[in-house]
Every structure is written in structure tokens, then in C-alpha cells.
Amino acid sequence: MYGTSAKILRVDLTNGNIETQTLREDFYRLYPGGKALAGYILLNELPPRTDPFAQENVMVFANGLLTGAPVSTATRYVVSARSPLTGGYGESEAAGFWGPELKMAGWEAIVVKGKASKPVYLWIKGDRVKICSAEHLWGKLTAEVQESIRSELGDEKIRVLQIGPAGENLVRFAGMTNDLRHFNGRNGLGAVMGSKNLRAIAVRGNQRYQNLAYDAKTLMDTGSKIAKSVKENPLSWDLQERGTPGLVEPLNTGGILPTRNFRQGAFEKVEDMKWEAYEKELLTARRSCYACAVRCKREVAVDGRESPYGGPEYETVGAFGPNCGIGDLQAIAKAGELCNAYMMDTISCGGTISFAMECFEHGLLTLEDTRGIDLRFGNAEAMLQVIELIAHREGIGALLAEGSKRAAEKIGGEAHFFAMQVKGQELAMHEPRGKYNVGMGYAISEIGADHLVVAHDSAFAKPDAIQLKAAAPLGITKALPPRSLGEEKMELFYILEKWNSLEKVVGFCFFGPAPRSFIPIEDVLLSINAATGWNMTMEEALQIGERATNMARIFNLREGFSRKDDTLPERLFQLLENGALQGQSMPRDEFEQSLTILYGKKGWDPQTGIPRPEKLRQLGLDWAIAMLPPCE
């Protein structure tokens, strides 16, 4: 088999068993890594209603087929388990260096079960695997732990994937990091790892992807061509030049910069937060992931000192900035640093704090609850204090570490209205009232509110725009307004969701392939086929993506999710308070009608959203039909 070692490492932390599983090619072609492989394993090996913090929860760390290939942005891996934040299908992706290093060590995936009796870390050097004590590392910040592991193992090139103290303390939105600047942030999977007493997975490998490839020359030539094109395409050029922090000003101008817990769409202090301010106040360098020429990562200095952690990306800037009413870049950078050191998702942490701020301003949380912290919008000092409290589950942090949904349930009254979450996961910093497909993505995503379900509406708004033209191989040719729903918009959503899902399977970052970014769609297929020799068609590729989302859907149905969970926070059906889209709201009836249309397009029952058996057969998921809920 080409393109993969086909080997999965299976570790049982309860009894210390370490085993190797080898995948067959006919299996791997249907589930070629990432989201697909993780989904298959979870659906078949994790019983429904397993407590996410119980040792029976199953964690999968899955590379994509192309992770580690010499192609820019082919760097991503997926971590999955039952999420402690949503109670549903848990998934988080990251890039950086850890996934490629795991591939170079000869592994496609790691499946972790059970719980160690004391804190441990895994040490994987090629095919040698050891479970090492992490008792001396427990409680320490991520920068210190990375250095300690590299030092005690005697190799500075070891790649370390780790949780932080927040994961140890079971903060429901704790994440994990590799190289301190690439994050599996969403869905609280760091807390699952913490519940297993697993602090880190250290990896070192030396096999080159080229040795796995069916046609290494074509793969390398394609990668070389793609690398050279980075500076010649406006999308990739902008990612390198400004990166995502450049989003603040245009989103504000468009009235879709989430501000004060999504009450508003424009922020009065945006002048202090534009790219020019970021570049002047924070930026020290631009960095990259493994073998990637895009270089979208920002390095920063915080309070005049080089930070050991990556600089804040847009989501962090948005979540700790305008959405908390804060316009101080230094405070935002510190907030990001704290989250990286304790290892918490900046989106959910910021979204939970903005929820708490609004509760405080409405008297639902008091100074007594916060033990004297004046937790109002705009109070940066308070925000930073609360981040620490959350990481340690102390004071008000004990409540907020549960996430905004559970915190709202505990507070009661109108608090639920201020929790900007779907299925328990906080919204990312994109305002759906300006981009309706983003809203549909938040609603329907298996993992709760997620902004990476489809490429955003704005890319397809104007005929002759480069992103729309680049989408033609997917069958997308018609421009549609961002604030529209209906049949054609849902067809656009359906196709884009399959394509994004494929990227999550084979390991492409969203800043790689068109239509979101610069890599021609044909080159994605070319890379897959050069790696494997499979002669995969577009139809097969999209089916792989659709198979993966259907498995995640079935997982959630088994956990008791239903159509009523595919919804949006009530606030989004109400009017934006300010900005260019002042007075706009998501149209509720149209939203529900479009959800029905979308379900139908996906081959699901249009009313219930349950996949139809014939759809599952079409996708080769006959084995999953028995897992569907009974018809009513």
C-alpha cells in the first residue's frame, strides 16, 4: 500500500498494553485517515452514553493520508473522543509538526484507552513505544513541560503534543498543543486526555513521506509548484503578509465583528486592533508548519519579551478583544499566552468569559459570586484574572470551567440567553447574521458551533471573483448573496461541507486548497493520487468526506442528539445593535426551512435529520444502519 504505513498504535493505559494494528488497503481507501478513521473507530469501539471522563472513553489521534507529504498545508491531524463540552462527537484538528513527525515515526494513528494509575506520557521513537512517568510534569505549564521532556529524552527535535494544567483539572474546554503554537483547541479533548492521566505524547521519527509515495516525483513536483505559487496568489500572499489578525478591520467595516457577546457587530476601539497596530505592537516574526510555504503563523512579543508561545490569531483576538469589549492588544496577547500555557481553547474561554460579563452586567452574577472581581465588558484585568481562575477551577472559575451552557443552567433565569453556544460549544468569532452559511454550519456541525464546516459565504458573493472561479471543479459556479438561504444556498453548503470534510480526512489545512485558499482543486486530487496510485475521482473524494460527516452524525444520534440541537442561539434571531448590519437578524422561518432542505440534500429525513438507510448504503455504511435511532 502506498501513501501510508497503515499502522495504528493501540495503547491501553490501564494495563500498559501496547499493540500494533495494520489496516487493509480496501479499508483505508474508504477511511483514509483523519476524520474518517477516527469516526469509524469511535462508532465501533466507543459504547454510547460513555461518560467523557470515564476510562472507557476512547481517544483517537489520527493523521490524514497526506499528513507530512511535501505539499504545503498537508500537515493536519485530528483528535477525537466523546466531548466533555458537548457530550457528542468530539473532534479537534491542528497542524504544526507533531502529525508529520508521527507519520515519520511510521504511525497513521494512535488509539488510547483506559486510564493510567498515575500521570504518564507516551514516548514514541519510530516503532519503539514506552509509557513514561509524568508525575514530575503534572501541574506544570506547557513551555516547561516541553523543555523537560526534550531534555530528559536527550533530543531537542522531539515533537511534543501535550495538555496543560487546565486539562489535568478537567476544564471542559481544555485543549492540547504541539510545539506550543499549534492547538487542538475545540471540544475539550484536552480534558479527556487529562482524565486518562496522560500528560503528553512525545514523538520522533525519521522516515520521509516520499518513501511511502506511489509516485514520489509527481508528488514532489506538485509540492514544489504549490510552494512557488504562494506569493503569486492573493489569498496565500495575504495569509503570509497579515495572517488572520488582518480580519479584524474588514469584519468591523462589514458590521460582522462579534462585539460584547454578539450583541453588536462593530467595535468602537477597532483602530487599536487593526493589522497595523498588531504589526507595530506585537509582531516579531512569521512562522510556518511542517513543509509549508504559506507561513501564516504569527510570533509575538508580549510586554516587550519574546513569547515562547505563538501569537494570537484572529479567533483569539476576537474572543478576548471586541467580544469582551476589550481593545488592548497587550491584554489580548497575554490572555492568549495564559490559555496556551494552561492549555485552554481561546474561543470557548473567551466566549465563556463574555457570557459571564453579560451575566454580571445584568446582575445574574454578583461581586460576591466573583469574589470582588468587577467582571464587566472592557475590564481587561478582570478577564486575565478569570482566565487563571478557570484554569485552576477556583472561585468563579469553578463555574466557568464548565462552559457557558452548563454555567447558564446553574445560574438560571435569563442566563441561557447570554450563552452563545450550540450543543454546548461556544461560537467562533464570525457573525452569522452577515454570513448565513456560517450560521448553518454552526447549527448543523456535529461538534457544536464550528466556523470551519464550509468556506464562508463571502467567497461566493460575486461572479468572476477568484474564489468562486476556483470552486468550478466542485460544480460551484453561481454567485449567491451572503445573507441568503434557500435551495441554491443549501446546495452550495452541501458541496462545500463534503469538500471541507475531505480536507479533515486527508490532512489539508483550510489555508491550502481552493476555494478558501490557493491550491487548485485538481492539485489536491493529484497529490492524493501521486501518494497512493488510486486514480481517485472527484466523486470518490467527495464521498469520502460525506462518509465521515455521516458517521459523526450517527454518533450524535446515538448520544440522543436530534434536530432540535441543530439550531442557533436565540440572540442571532434578534437584531444586531450596531454597525453596517444594524437591525439585521437571522430569519428564523427561512432558517428552519433551509435546514429541512439541507437534510433532504444530504439524503437524511428532511424533518428529523436522521440519515436514510439508502444513503448509508450508497456511502458504504451498511454496517451503521443498525445504529440509527428507531423510526417514529
Binding site: W237, L247, G254
Partner: protein, 76 residues
């Protein structure tokens, strides 16, 4: 007038710089200025003159105006 670009429109600016100053003898259609500078109208998603959003296709620009333009903004 002062023209400022954001998102990936800066790619199309002279020297790929995000700011440019132009003297206008008379009120000029924005589309003409964009054509002159080399910014494709198809990539323009937002245009604001002196802080107010305008329709790019019909907007007129005066010599002392501050113009900010952006391409489509996607997530990541």
C-alpha cells in the same frame, strides 16, 4: 484622496503596499480609481468612504476623502 486596502486586495496595490495617495481634480467614480490602480472590481467586497459603507459600483470620490476597501473575508 487616501486609499487604504485590507484583506487580500493589498496584493493588487502598487508595490503591494496597503496605502496610496492620489490627487483628484474633480469628483471621480471609485470604479475608475480602482481600474487606474489595478484593483479588480470582482474582488471588492466592501468599500467605505470617510467611514461610511458605499456601493462601490456607483460611489464618487472627492480629493479629500479617505477610502478603505476590502476583499471577501473568510474564516480560518
Amino acid at each position: 484622496m487616501k486609499l487604504h486596502t485590507g484583506s487580500y486586495l493589498t496584493f493588487y496595490m502598487p508595490g503591494r503596499k496597503s496605502s496610496l495617495e492620489l490627487s483628484l481634480d474633480a469628483p471621480t467614480p471609485l470604479v475608475e480609481i480602482l481600474a487606474q490602480v489595478g484593483i479588480p472590481l470582482s474582488e471588492l467586497a466592501l468599500a467605505a468612504i470617510n467611514g461610511k459603507l458605499v456601493e462601490a459600483e456607483t460611489a464618487m470620490v472627492q480629493d479629500d476623502d479617505q477610502v478603505r476597501i476590502f476583499s471577501a473575508i473568510d474564516g480560518g
